[in-house]
Symmetry: C2
Subunit: 498 residues, 2 copies
């Protein structure tokens, strides 16, 4: 047993080093998207490619495999940290070692170059500026998929990157329920209420002051986090004491409030991971859908709720006097308007998932080869008309709006809609623990909600599969769209202007 | 020859990857000192240690040695890029492979921890808070030195890290000239002129606006650089298009003007390196003394010169109306006052080198073991009295003022004074190329000066040894303190208030 226990120590050390390098890649990415001068992009793409290759090489090495073999005889409780570490590592190692290191590095490099091209294309408002770089990263992604275990759908390997173990057919089954129901809710919602007060003059510095209060009340302590502007908001963490959220401020609307609460939701779930899991592959969430369920929880179930604004609206009115003539009810109606639009990140809770279904469908076609990258703008625009009834005026407000395809990150988008679904499933269970939840949200006391979510969900980190985690969190064994649809019907029905 | 040329390509690729990882370490460091929330420090120290170990391991590998052997038969011009790459790499490889990888990683980790302790000690204004972490990093440094080639002085290996090939005795020879001469200049300078106008209310935003103009005129283009606040200013670059300078603003004085021009000088010399040398070990300067010669050039020979301020002082007066009653001559006198003080980075051109001599002497004693780390504050304070005639009131204004010892970076400090000396040696040569230099400085036209320095010095990068570089730049084969002393005597003599 001495050998076995030494092997476990060695394995942990090795994984801690891989973790360090992955976090370092995260620092490169955070810096690139918040701080880096634009002319630094080409060198940054090289650096990220080199480091990506090294991370891959070290992780998939024979030495990792040898250590995994040596620890196999250990008899450990399934739920223990060590057993989970070994289980999760073995799955990832067996998957990742199929991929040549060079391919991983190429993917990172082409993603970096495509990110540069995407920024240029947005500047020029022209997809064709992005196309050549996109085609290159797209082809690397397809080459990568050939090394993966083939599933029922060519989309399965991509989905598995973000949603371990989930099949395309399972996503389709959920989306097949959502698509007609959401379309019906949009139709039945009728004319949107007046929300013109959401456009206007909103000084960014004042938005920041308001948000600083929200972040504080959500539980973020000084010296443990940052919130910075970026083009495409994201959240990342380098330790429990170094959580980086990013957001996008606009001087003429208040979208930053919700995009910030969204990223704060990510930040809180990173923060709630058991400290004993830090500096290991378990220091994360088990899937993107579970991660997104929490960003959407804090953005929508908290940040678009009536109790939250009952407590906080007076402060917002004080900071933005033009809202003095807008009552709480009108405000609440306005921020929850169902109003099909062009931009995913600005979408309401109902149409948001339709934006996702569009991307999910296009991605499957791209991966299957039935849609050529060059045909993407046309397909996008047609699908927007079909699903949301809107006409896309240009590429920036269409196919160029999201960053994800700069890394051919297919499989990521559907997790947003699954996150919406899961957020309500989990919220219902958590609400049972907290009989005073509404009053707490109104009072700006978010500690009990955070503690309940941490206890049920966050603390597990990535110890279990997504479905095992859901089971431990709320005793459910599948993603169920019904609570989400019920929540929307009830909320949107109640908002209807009669 | 096919094998040899393939080996050269492979060697370059390998070195490019090592370069990428070193730049990535730079990103970690830049982020740590400008952006990172304080609570992220412990994890950052681990990440930097892991990456440092990997950089070392990859560079010193047998594979690098094998490639170096394979390219040995190549017949190349001494001055060619390829010959230089091979020569510089071989020297560095033979030196670096003596060091165990674990020791390099330990050094990085202990340096990270000591940096945290240093910040805490500064907060507490108490050296004893820093001492335990300092002792640990000090011991790692001494262990490292045991692996190095032993020179005449135990300080030689440390010096060689920053000043390749230079011996402690050579530095001593220069400093033995400087010490009495500088002390005499201080004595003869007499009472400092009134410079009370340098203290007062100087809005940081206004300083930043003024400096933005300076940076622009120095030649920095939008989208290729950053200038951020930090505790201990430094400059670093990740590519020719991503140069990061940092500075320290104070709302009650204008020291940031010179600390920014200092870092801008570093930035300009990074910028001037031949683009063909990028992403290779030659993308740097051959020694810290040559690097510092250029930061001091732009800080002092430009930024404290009469022509510079003749052109720029009206703008400064416009931005800070309290200077309206201070004439150009009084201003020039004030910013060049010889006035022994406590803080190195705030020191005038004469006493600055005395601050360095103090550190050089203490470092030699630390390394020789004749001074214990615990005895540092007492030794510091005594030496400050002896060399500069000032009493040190507390640790923050004494032994805790510099960041360098957090990484036991002995050998770095002397390069600042050598840089002062070299700056004037090089300036004299460059001034011969530029008969209109004074008029250009007054007109804010810095392009000709930059071009001349790039042509003589910057473009060579790290292709040659420091002395080979000096020879190519100005036809000199040694560091000569006389021009520096002449420059000071002339300048300070001219300033004397009669």
């Amino acid at each position: 047993m001495l050998l076995v226990s030494t092997a476990l120590t060695d394995l942990k050390q090795r994984l801690a080093e891989v973790y360090d390098l992955q976090r370092t890649l995260g620092v490169l990415r955070w810096d690139q998207q918040t701080m880096m001068p634009p002319q630094g992009a080409a060198a940054r793409a090289e650096a990220a490619a080199t480091l990506t290759g090294i991370v891959h090489e070290r992780f998939v090495s024979e030495e990792t495999g040898r250590l995994l073999e040596q620890v196999a005889p250990l008899e450990l409780e399934y739920d223990s940290d060590d057993a989970s570490l070994i289980r999760v590592t073995r799955r990832e190692w067996e998957k990742e070692r199929r991929v040549p290191t060079q391919l991983r590095a190429d993917w990172a490099r082409e993603a970096g170059n495509a990110h540069i091209a995407w920024l240029e294309a947005r500047e020029a408002n022209d997809f064709s500026v992005f196309l050549p770089a996109f085609q290159r990263v797209h082809e690397v992604a397809l080459r990568w998929a050939e090394y993966m275990e083939q599933g029922d759908s060519p989309y399965d390997p991509f989905l598995d990157e973000y949603e371990p173990g989930m099949k395309t057919a399972e996503v389709k089954a959920v989306f097949d329920v959502l698509r007609p129901e959401l379309t019906a809710i949009v139709r039945e919602a009728g004319e949107p209420a007046d929300a013109s007060f959401l456009q206007g003059d909103f000084a960014i510095a004042t938005q920041q002051e308001f948000l600083a209060g929200v972040m504080h009340d959500f539980g973020f302590e000084e010296g443990t986090y940052r919130l910075d502007p970026t083009v495409h908001p994201f959240a990342i963490w380098f330790s429990g004491g170094d959580i980086r959220m990013t957001t996008r401020y606009r001087p003429d609307n208040l979208q930053a409030l919700w995009s910030t609460m969204h990223e704060a939701g990510h930040g809180l779930s990173f923060r709630g991971i058991d400290p004993l899991l830090r500096r290991s592959p378990l220091d994360g969430l088990p899937s993107m859908a579970l991660a997104e369920s929490q960003s959407r929880t804090w953005e929508n179930l908290v940040g678009r709720s009536l109790p939250f604004w009952r407590g906080r609206y007076p402060e917002l009115q004080r900071r933005f006097p033009q809202l003095q003539n807008v009552g709480l009810e009108a405000w609440y109606r306005g921020i929850n308007n169902v109003d099909p639009g062009l931009i995913r990140v600005d979408a309401d809770e109902v149409t948001y998932s339709l934006h996702i279904i569009l991307r999910f469908e296009l991605e499957q076609e791209l991966v299957a080869g039935t849609l050529d990258p060059a045909g993407l703008p046309e397909a996008w625009n047609a699908r927007m008309h079909e699903l949301l009834g809107v006409e896309v005026p240009d590429d920036v407000r269409g196919v160029l709006q999201d960053v994800h395809w700069t890394r051919a990150g297919y499989g990521y988008f559907p997790t947003y809609a699954l996150g919406n679904v899961l957020s309500v499933q989990i919220w219902r269970a958590v609400a049972q623990d907290l009989p005073e939840l509404e009053a707490q949200l109104e009072a700006g006391e978010f500690g009990p909600l955070y503690d309940a979510l941490r206890e049920r969900l966050y603390r597990h980190g990535a110890k279990f599969t997504p479905m095992e985690t859901l089971d431990r969190a709320i005793g459910a064994d599948a993603i169920d769209p019904q609570p989400y649809l019920e929540y929307l019907r009830e909320k949107i029905g109640g908002l209807k202007v009669v």
